[in-house]
């Protein structure tokens, strides 16, 4: 019974995070300007990372955790590079 409750709660959390990713993707499509799209991508990867973590909880495997950590670090580098590009027009001067 307890496991079923936990599975239900984690499934609900997965649905909420997927909805958050859809909303972020909508912001990327709608824009209206480049900085809004970068912000949407930032939210998208963050929610994707949380989704991977909750999926790892749901399946009981800690393999998803490494994936989440890599998404987090690469997403950070990507957002910094894009913010730099928006500011200067170049990533590395």
């Amino acid at each position: 019974m307890m496991t079923q409750m936990l599975a239900g709660a984690l499934t609900l959390a997965l649905i909420l995070l997927a909805a958050a990713m859809v909303l972020a993707a909508w912001r990327i499509i709608r824009g209206p300007r480049a900085q809004d799209r970068v912000l949407g991508m930032d939210t998208l990867y963050l929610n994707g990372m949380l989704l991977a973590l909750v999926f790892g909880l749901r399946t009981g495997s800690d393999l998803a955790f490494e994936a989440a950590l890599i998404i987090g670090m690469l997403g950070f580098a990507a957002t910094v590079a894009m913010a730099k590009f928006l500011m200067r027009g170049e990533v590395i001067e």
């Binding site: 936990l6 909420l16 950070f76 957002t79």
Partner: protein, 147 residues
């Protein structure tokens, strides 16, 4: 779902994961609903701080009970994500401000929108600062106020 965890651990995991996911969803909703870029920069930080911390703590609790020993691996990301996200948000906001201050490049916001209002204020401030810098260069620094 593999393995069995005690009732208390399952409850804590469920509540923390649900809170984290709900907070992340609210943050994404705010990103979609708010009306100017500078307002939209705020809500995703909800997901990065409270949401990420809740979900990562849930995973620490769950895997610690599942393995029967303390599993601090998730604490790595607990420290990393909330520490790093403000840096990216601030860089992005400064880049947006730099683009608003100069007319040189960057798409114009839609006329009449709140973005257009912020851009007008940023350009006004930039020209006032340039004017002040020109005066300092011509006349020297201003006299300090006498008490």
């Amino acid at each position: 779902m593999t393995g069995e965890v005690p009732l208390a651990a399952a409850l804590i995991t469920a509540v923390l994961a649900l809170i984290g996911a709900a907070v992340a969803a609210v943050g994404a909703l705010g990103l979609l609903r708010l009306r100017s870029f500078y307002a939209r920069a705020h809500p995703p930080t909800l997901a990065a701080t409270l949401g990420a911390t809740c979900i990562l703590l849930a995973s620490v609790v769950y895997f610690s009970y599942l393995e029967g020993r303390f599993m601090p691996k998730a604490l790595l990301a607990v420290v990393f994500i909330p520490l790093v996200n403000p840096v990216t948000t601030m860089l992005l906001a400064r880049a947006a401000l730099a683009r608003d201050r100069t007319h040189a490049y960057g798409a114009r916001p839609e006329p009449g929108s709140e973005d257009a209002e912020w851009r007008r204020k940023a350009v006004e401030l930039a020209s006032a600062q340039a004017e002040a810098a020109r005066r300092v260069a011509e006349d020297g620094p201003p006299e300090p106020d006498q008490p």
